[in-house]
Each structure stands twice: as structure tokens, then as C-alpha cells.
Symmetry: C2
Subunit: 227 residues, 2 copies
């Protein structure tokens, strides 16, 4: 469909291309999140973005191409948000807490982004399912590598190193599922959600049933308090 | 499409209806698992079931109806498999271990069932997404109730009771994600997979990084050994 609009739109206000593209992608993320990929229309994307439909096509191509760019942008945002807080100088517990808190903070602030990544794009039979599955695999490999790095630094036993990728997969799944649960419990804070995942992932039920629950590490506590 | 075949097929071998339906459902589960809902054809279901296509329609209706019956049957099988081992007399740790082991044993033995439930049916935009999401919610509520029951029996602190549903959601997500990871690591046994989930869910990273990993409870060990 891009061929219908070979030239850069001439009637548009002279906004920098990057600004225009951001407008369109913000609109598209909202529409894909609310309607799902199949039901989303380029008409609605154009209306929400406040520009003409031909301009949407001219800037970012067909609905399929637009969706691909959305996924790429939202996945990059999520990885950046978590990556920004994971300081290798921190102890494993604090590093995990910060990463988990950054994840839930992102999901809370960018619901539509999360929705596009997780609900709309995450299944076979849907467009881009393979790309999403691959992105998920990369996220698991990355988190597994962080666990392995922490394990080596802490002098953790050898057997744990063979387990870090599987543990990362379990952790990612637990985070996704809690993010889903959060949709049904919107009054919960990102911090409360992150503490739940720490209770499972750091403490385990074995501690919980004995009444030992997870608390933010003292040195991280100040940073972790909501502003 | 059922109307094309108003009468019971006359040419079929005289097999009991229940046997015939099971043949068709087994074939349909395999085909839906391998092709996905959209690409699956009723021709292939008929070939795999070894009967004529009109008979497939006559017994179980349209592709959509057939898929709905498949999901219902496979979900029931999974719930039965896990429910059969969860003895309320057991201590929470052993109960969790048995349930987790039953889950991975089911996934290992009935890959196609799991695939239909999890990969083919689990997303918005797909048919029956709402039913699957609702089924998942019910599973979480059920596991949450089991956790609460165990917590009360063990005299666990009050705060834990408010957390059991969220913990169940995290546990279910971790199990799903590990089942996915297993697809990429098919040489792993169901028992090894179940032990991984116990390491996360019962021990937590806090124990793991200190070198304390999970071992099957002594009393459950004999039962848990592969036959």
C-alpha cells in the first residue's frame, strides 16, 4: 500500500519526521492495544494521530509494517527501562528487585505497550508471532545471563549455572502472568506487584508458609519508594 | 455446516458413538496442534481420524465447534491429571510437588493437548480466546484456594491469605513459561522440569544463590521416581 503514496506528503505541517512518526506510533499502539491487530483500522490510527490516512501510509507503510514497527519500539522501550536500572555493582537481590520493579513500573505506565507486546502479538497464527517468540527467547537469555553473572560473582555452586536460563524462563512467565493478574486488580501499585514477584522468586513458598516474606533491601529502600 | 448432514451417518462401521468421537477428537487435537486453528483443515482431521469428512461434521459439527470441544476436553484432562494427585492430607510442600510433577507429566505425555490449550488458543483475536482466558482464571483461583487451604492448615500468617491468588497467578505463569522452554530442550525429563519449578516456587533465588536447592520430600520420593 506504500506504493499509493510514493512521495513524502506535501500538505503536512512541517514537523520533523521523527516527531510525526512518534505521533503515529503512539496512536497505533493505542489502537492496536484496544482493538487487537485484526480489528484495528488505519482510519482510526489516522484519526487518533490527528493526520490523514495517506500520511500514515506514507510515513510508516501498511498496517502490517506499522504493527512491526510498534512491536519493535515497545520491546525496545521495555528492555531499556529494565536495563537502565540493572547495575552490575549491586548485589543479586537488589539487582533483581530493581529489575522487577522497573518491569512493573513500565507495564503500569505503558499499558498499551505491554498489551501490544503481550496480548496482541504473543501467539501463533497471529502476525509476527515468530518475532515475538524470538524476542521473548532473547529476553530470557539476557536475564539468564544476568543470573549467571550474579551467581559467579557470589560464588554460587556450579549446578546453579546450568539452571539460570530455565530459571529466567520461569521468572519471565511469572512476571507476565502477574502483569495479567494486575489488569483485573488495577488498584495495586507497581511496587506492590514487584514485591509479590520477589516474594515468589526470591523467598519462595518455603519461606512464605513459615511467615517469612520479602522486604526491599535496606540500601535500595530509599530509591524504591514511590516519588 | 451440520445441516448438510442432518442424519447419523449410515455407512459408518458400527462403533459406539463415544469411541467414534474420541477418534475424531484425538485426530483434531493432533491437527490443531500441528497446523494451528486457522490453517487446520477438516479434510486432514478426517484423514487422520480415518473416516469421511461428512462423518466428522455429523459427529462434532463445524471446525469451530470441533475446536471448542477439543479445548474443553484437553482442559478437563489437565485439571483431572493435576487434581488426581493433590491430596489434602499431604503437607503443602509435597502437595505442590505432586501437582507440579503431574502438570509436567501431562504436558510431556500430551504435547498436542498442551499445544492446543496454550499456543493455539491463548490469545486475543483468536477464536475462544475469552474462554481460554476464563479457564486460566479459574485454574488460578483453584490453585490460589489450595494455597490458602494449606496456609490455614499450617497456621501461616494472615497476610499470606490475601496473597494466595496472586501467588497462584505467578506460579501458573512460571509453569507455562517452563513448559515452553521445555519445547526447546526436549531431552529434559518431566521430573527435572518439575524440580526446576519447585526450586523457584518453593526455595526461591534467595536460597538458590546460597547453594540450597530443592529436593523431593522424603515421603514423596518413592512415588515421584519414574516408574
Amino acid at each position: 500500500m506504500r506504493s499509493e503514496q510514493g512521495d513524502r506528503p506535501a500538505r503536512a505541517k512541517r514537523l520533523p519526521r521523527a516527531v510525526r512518526e512518534r505521533q503515529i506510533l503512539d496512536a497505533a499502539t493505542a489502537v492496536f492495544s484496544q482493538r487487537g491487530y485484526h480489528a484495528a483500522s488505519m482510519d482510526e490510527v489516522a484519526v487518533v494521530a490527528g493526520i490523514s490516512k495517506p500520511m500514515v501510509y506514507a510515513y510508516l507503510g501498511s498496517k502490517e509494517e506499522l504493527f512491526a514497527v510498534c512491536i519493535k519500539r515497545e520491546a525496545g522501550r521495555l528492555v531499556d527501562a529494565v536495563g537502565a536500572v540493572v547495575d552490575p555493582e549491586l548485589a543479586p537481590e537488589e539487582r533483581l528487585w530493581r529489575g522487577v520493579l522497573a518491569f512493573f513500573t513500565f507495564v503500569g505506565e505503558y499499558r498499551d505497550s505491554w498489551n501490544v507486546l503481550h496480548r496482541q502479538a504473543g501467539s501463533e497464527g497471529q502476525p509476527f508471532a515468530a518475532e515475538i517468540a524470538e524476542g521473548r527467547r532473547r529476553a530470557i537469555a539476557l536475564i539468564g545471563a544476568l543470573l549467571a553473572q550474579a551467581a559467579v560473582a557470589e560464588g554460587v555452586p556450579e549446578w546453579f549455572l546450568g539452571e539460570t536460563e530455565a530459571m529466567a524462563a520461569a521468572l519471565v512467565g511469572a512476571g507476565e502472568s502477574l502483569a495479567d493478574w494486575w489488569l483485573d486488580h488495577p488498584d495495586e501499585s507497581a511496587k506492590a506487584m514487584a514485591a509479590r514477584l520477589m516474594n515468589l522468586a526470591w523467598m519462595g513458598f518455603g519461606n512464605l508458609v513459615r511467615g517469612r516474606n520479602w522486604q526491599p533491601p535496606t540500601s535500595a529502600k530509599a530509591d524504591a519508594e514511590p516519588a
